[in-house]
Amino acid sequence: MNRFGARTITKTFGPVVALDEVSFACERGEIHALLGENGAGKSTLIKLLVGAHQPDGGTLTFDDAPVVLHSPQDAIARSVAVVHQDYHVWPDLTVAENVIGTLPHPPQRGGLTAARTMRAQARALLDRLAIDIDVNRPVRELDAAEKKFIEIARALALDATFLILDEPTASLEQRESERVLALLERLRAENHGIILVTHRLEEVVRTADRATILRDGRNAGLVGRENMRGDVLVEAILGRPPDEPALPRASSGTPRLAFAGVRTREGAPPFDLTLHRGEILGLTGVVGSGAVHLVRALGGRRPLAGTLLVDGKPLLIRTAADAVRAGIGTIPEDRKGAGLALEASVADNIAFASLHRVSRFGFTDTRKRDAIAEEYRASLGIRCASIHAPVGSLSGGNQQKVLIARWLASGAGVIAIEEPTHGVDIGAKAEIHRQLAAFAEAGGSVIFMSTELRELLAIAHRIAIFHGGRLEAILPHHEATEARITAISTGITTETAA
């Protein structure tokens, strides 16, 4: 089989048309990106491609001949495998057990596992992929990129010719992403067909041979190598040119927050850092750089080593409640685990930090709560069936908007966010950036940690760059470039903190 795809495929769920006559084809030896906003139909298409769903019209194709895949197992038997976005690994099993031992037919001898054969097979496979990991290590000891490698290796152990990767780099640092992309390029050279679903367009521009774009469940373009540019892709995905948020102006005067003599960890040099009214301050650095420390400390999740002044007065944040009382709202990176009550409604999630405003004598004033929720649903463009829908049913971008609405509703003066747009599609991303800018415009202060350079450059007034626990530099917006940030955060250049 040299070509795998779908021809005029249609899928409806009740009244909703998820895919409307979509066609798509991936050749062996190419990296074919599948792009689109959340809700554009990418997930549905993946499910159809691996036989998890069956089409209502149209057909899957192998070398242009119609084919039916009855189940994911069926797809695997036909050499089509998927690597899911979440980590589908077993942390307490070894690398060899993850890659080979959990296959449908692992090597056995006399009823027992042929452990040596299993390890040898796993090692041979990893060697072929130029992955240097000890196959006897438990997978929990691996870093995020290595776990992704294990999943990819497992798909290859299933003899997959075509590999579908759903957001393989969504939760990876830039450096780790590079390693995964390098592996994909290697697989392409081995004549595998790679279907890459991602929100990170710079990766597509760098690696993809072609990109199929979906919008509202329809084909919205096929971009070839010659036109593979960020602006072309963004316009095709949105169906219009993107609008950039205008940077509000930061005020001077007493800073809203002032960190004095703060360290990111024991032994690291102390530094000072301020956040003014109307200012958006970006923090960045690779894993272990300490950049995330300040945001976590503001949320009461880590003790702060040093002094924090809020409006000129010292404040000790011991718990999340201390932070909320001081008007600091935090949004953790793990918004599902640490930010949202997934089963609770959108309205309740928005009201969580401002219950005093929507309750009287301990009873919730549901009408007031709903009015506030509706207000933010409209102003932030939160897409949900109703404000009473569980927040878990919303897309990642809309969940993030709910968290932002929570702190806007509570009247917080400072919002501290970790990775504001991780796993969020570009439409919602622009919306979130606009909201943060609007919040700052209205006099609020934002401090955020991000590893995404474009995001830092798009919304931050100043960018504080950390490396090895040390604050290396603070770049004003007009002096910051991707190259400079990368150089400083990877330790190539050091600059004195401004």
Partner: protein, 325 residues
Amino acid sequence: MTSDAEPAPVRINATKRSRSEWIDLAFVPVILLVLIVALTLLSPFFLSARNVTEILLQAAILGIVSVGTTFVIVGGDLDLSIGANIAVSGVVAALVMTSTNNNVPLGIAAGLGCGALIGVINGLITTLLRVPAFVATLGTLVIGQGVALTITSGSSIGNLPDAFGALANANVLGLPALVWWMFLTFGAGYLLLHRTVFGIRTFAVGGNREAARLAGLKIDAIRVLNFVICGFTGGLGGVLLAARVQAAQPTSGEIYTLYATAAVILGGTSLYGGRGSILRTLLGVALIALLQNGLELLGVAYSNQQVAVGIVFIIAASSELIRRR
């Protein structure tokens, strides 16, 4: 550039891991060691051959059913019905023997089959009816206790044949056969859980059920099989308990309901599934047996022994929290 940027995070993770892992690995062995030293100092009788045999006998039934319970827990489920299983299986074995003119092999087979059947029932309730194992086995626990009382009319069935008694009490290489059955069960359990494909799959299902499903593993079949293994050890435990005293009591298994799960968790197997080992369970069983024996030697009342076991159980469970941090 890389040489400067990479090592820092790696080092941080490494120290954090080694410390918590150290706590995890050393926790039970250290307690065991302290317990042994303390009891040796406190009671000259403790290390005598007779008392060691006594400890092994006390540990035997608990050890056997804990092996089965380990499979279920590693697979991400629980089996609280094990106590009732022991009672029902013992009673069924005894009833079959007494009503077939002391046909010992048939009685044993009936007891083991009964245990495995309870496992099948637990497995089907949790997989087909999608009832969480905790609730399902709590239900079969209560049902089993009722059944044991009903079929015996509440009284024990005594005077079982000597040939049956020999199953547990025969002297083999200086130790009662019951103790050897325990070691045999541990050995078989070790091979099955740690040296077979089925074992890997059990870890896979317990560690990440959704991933196991998407990897094409037949997770329901694997879960049912683990319940059957657990049920079978319950049957074995019930038969051997009846053989030991040559009588079957409808209320005999009660304490094992929680002690089996406690022994597994004490050993350090994760209550959430996917991580653990038969060896750890052996340590957990040893800890409970030593604790009970020691408290007995020191003349502590049985009721207070239970309090002590409960406290140690909670401390051990909190050590998992330390580890997971």
